[in-house]
Symmetry: C3
């Protein structure tokens, strides 16, 4: 028997199955510094312990997306090694900030299964949970992927489609304990625009762009211990290109969104996301945002804002879909998330 991991195929999943993912990870100032080297991340809460303390936190946390990548990376060998496509995300919630010294692990429960009509693939829905060394859940999210069958004769499972919220309600969001923006320093944060200054429907072109390099996306993807061959091995695809981990584009776009959303400090909810087109080395990533919604929160001075973050590799800002309803070819990412801002 081969000792290497063949990954799971569609027929290997069953409803209610819980998969404990391997390779727990302790994070340190090293992960934080690398995150700032790999992305133009400038949100002050994640850059300065002093700024974070002035907002009621014990220290500057690891970037919320870095926490997501660590949790996500562990699922790859078990969930998406034989995936044909990463189809979507829902009900992502950040429940507790991650600090230097924390050790993260993750597990996934299979919550949905649907074999495709071609009999060759199926869709697997999982709810993934990231846990720290104290057993506290730091984040959770649902993801569904299309996975190949290995044994085409394996019987189709009963179709189970999970009920997933298309958007998290404001009351679903968890505000980190102690968070207080009532003495927020807008000067140190980098922009004067507060929660009250943004209106649903408003769009923001984040202006800046970053041209992607192979070494950078591979370093990032490895740091999250994501093992998908397609990101690292130029001989894997017939075209000789390494496909860039979708999370690299998410982090790049979010970091670029600082310019215009410097005060959208913490990500607390992920409503949905689509990797509209693949990204390759040499592409220049830009980003724009549409404000979708706003909500008050019980925390002092803290408002929630729902944002659509779009990453592109060219084209005009604010263009998303063609007349056929499909994403334009230059659109890389369409992400829908909730962030916390000072009111």
């Amino acid at each position: 028997m081969a000792k290497t991991n063949p990954g799971r195929f569609f027929e290997d999943y069953s409803i209610g199955q819980v998969i404990e993912h391997a390779v727990p990870r302790t994070v340190s100032g090293g992960e934080r510094a690398l995150y700032h080297a790999l992305y133009p991340a400038r949100h002050a809460l994640y850059s300065s312990d002093e700024f974070a303390r002035a907002c009621g936190l014990p220290a500057s946390p690891l970037d919320d997306l870095a926490a997501f990548h660590v949790v996500f990376g562990k699922t790859v060998p078990d969930v998406s090694l034989n995936a044909v496509a990463n189809l979507g995300y829902a009900e992502g919630r950040w429940l507790k900030p991650v600090y230097a010294g924390d050790t993260l692990r993750s597990s996934s429960e299979v919550i949905g299964l649907k074999q495709n009509s071609n009999g060759k693939t199926g869709v697997v829905y999982v709810r993934t949970t990231g846990t720290n060394q104290n057993g506290e859940t730091v984040m959770e999210y649902c993801r569904w992927v299309m996975v190949r069958k290995k044994d085409l004769d394996a019987p189709a499972p009963e179709t189970v489609m999970p009920e997933l919220k298309s958007v998290l309600a404001p009351e679903d969001l968890v505000i980190p304990e102690g968070l207080d923006f009532s003495a927020y320093d807008f000067t140190l944060a980098g922009e004067p625009h507060r929660w009250g200054d943004y209106e649903p429907g408003e769009t923001i072109d984040h202006v800046d762009g970053v041209t992607i390099e192979e070494a950078e996306h591979m370093m990032a993807t490895r740091l999250w211990q994501n093992t998908a061959k397609v990101h690292f091995d130029a001989t894997f695809r017939p075209d000789g290109q390494r496909l860039i981990y979708g999370g690299h584009v998410i982090s790049m776009a979010r970091a670029l969104s600082f310019n215009g959303l410097a005060n959208a400090q913490m990500i607390v909810g992920l409503n949905g996301g689509a990797h509209a087109n693949p990204c390759f080395s040499g592409d220049t990533v830009k980003a724009w945002t549409e404000v979708l919604d706003k909500a008050d929160t019980p925390a002092p001075g803290v408002g929630a804002i729902r944002l659509r973050l779009v990453a592109t590799k060219g084209g005009e800002p604010f263009a998303l879909r063609g007349e056929d309803g499909k994403y334009l070819p230059e659109v890389l990412l369409d992400l829908d998330y909730w962030a916390l801002m000072p009111q």
Copy 2:
């Protein structure tokens, strides 16, 4: 109103104006490790806590140039986003070493203004101060940049030219508290040459070279949270090239200068500097040094040495200017600084 930062234009500056720069930064072992991964930095005081303690410091500090980059990076969105050229530096002084756990911020005072005769640009002089979490100044320097006017009809300000020292006097230099080179370990430091072995006029070819990669200069520049588009976006310049942050060349040249100046441990003064020609990915950076001056210091066993550090991308060592008095095309950097050495 657009919420993104348009940067300041020449008419937005006034004498005495103080700009508090955004995004404070806590540094850790992560920044230190990345500095050593990005540059061939080998000065023992910045590599080993044990070596630093034997020299009277509490631990190994963050490289002096890394501290400079952190302080400098914060000024970019406020000072040089619309700059046409970075013209010069003066009166740079390192006043207190930066250690893992320190949080740095920076502010700049406008100390000089001069509109150019074309009416389209002007020169802005600032004195920038980097401060730690205890309010202590860790470094300061003056910089002047040529900035575009946005409103060409804006009246020219009264010309104010700051009086800047062309060279810091030895008594201007601040020796870190406790620094003591009387039991300095030359073997562990890597070279036997002490302060007394160097003479003004002496030149040193540092021999080694590094070929520059896009991923590396972008990671470095992002780590310092420097946001100038020209370093990251290959679509920004008509020639499709990313201009390398001048500070990347400074750090590369200084690290290369270890070979011949391993004992020029701490940088305490920056007398001046010119980015003579642009640097691009693929260039192979080499460096040479000319000893300009020497001075005693009150600290035990510590001498000060004034060095001209020149970075090139080819050509012969020790060639600096052509017959026309202009920098040779292969010269990238001409830096004049004071360092501390064991006597």
Copy 3:
């Protein structure tokens, strides 16, 4: 006299000579994070403090190969700056894990000398020792390199060939104090295969591949403060290629071997190794392993396994030598080491 380091030539070595290598190094979470960004390293003991504690260690150590690279890097300016070839390794032993906060230094003793019959080069054998801040030896290994003579008229030294073990005996291996695999968590480690599941003669194709980038191998090599020009300066070789540090290939292959050897956690012995062919940017590195031997150890639940790790840049797995007995052109590395696994 030039102040730069010319390196030692063959005639500069003598039997019994002890060279204290320069530039001690304190490691932190930064080095650990970079190791995980540069290599697809996933062994749980080196990723999670919690996992390491459950195995009886105080925290997650720095990867054993990172410790090796730090110790090795310091020797380059003294041992291999004028080397023509790195010929071999033997009797490598890891004696004590390295933790964040440790400061490493290294020294080498010349244990063998043999001038080649051409009179232009000779082979130098050294035993290198890495030491931490408490004076404890963390690792040691023998290496022999072919070094140029500078003065061809220098008399040949008496030939001394050290007696080196071709393979370390199991009783030569040092098990880290406290190591206990009796409660080992195979799920968190990533694979169910225990020591008893591997048999001598068994071969494992590690399946995954990584295409090498210039920025990555240079960052790794600089992080270990290895100064050999050939790795960094594209103008140094006539073909304009930067030769990749052999240790980069070792770390890459070892990390790839996780897939099939996730439980071969700790490296404790290096029996030998050959850099069979040079590696350049653009090569896609893959790896396979042959199980060579097994041995019990006195530590609870801990078995030792001897492995041949082969890195290739193409070709079929398990092919090593041609009919002429020489390494096949696609073979990069042939490494023979002892690791510790749960029984």
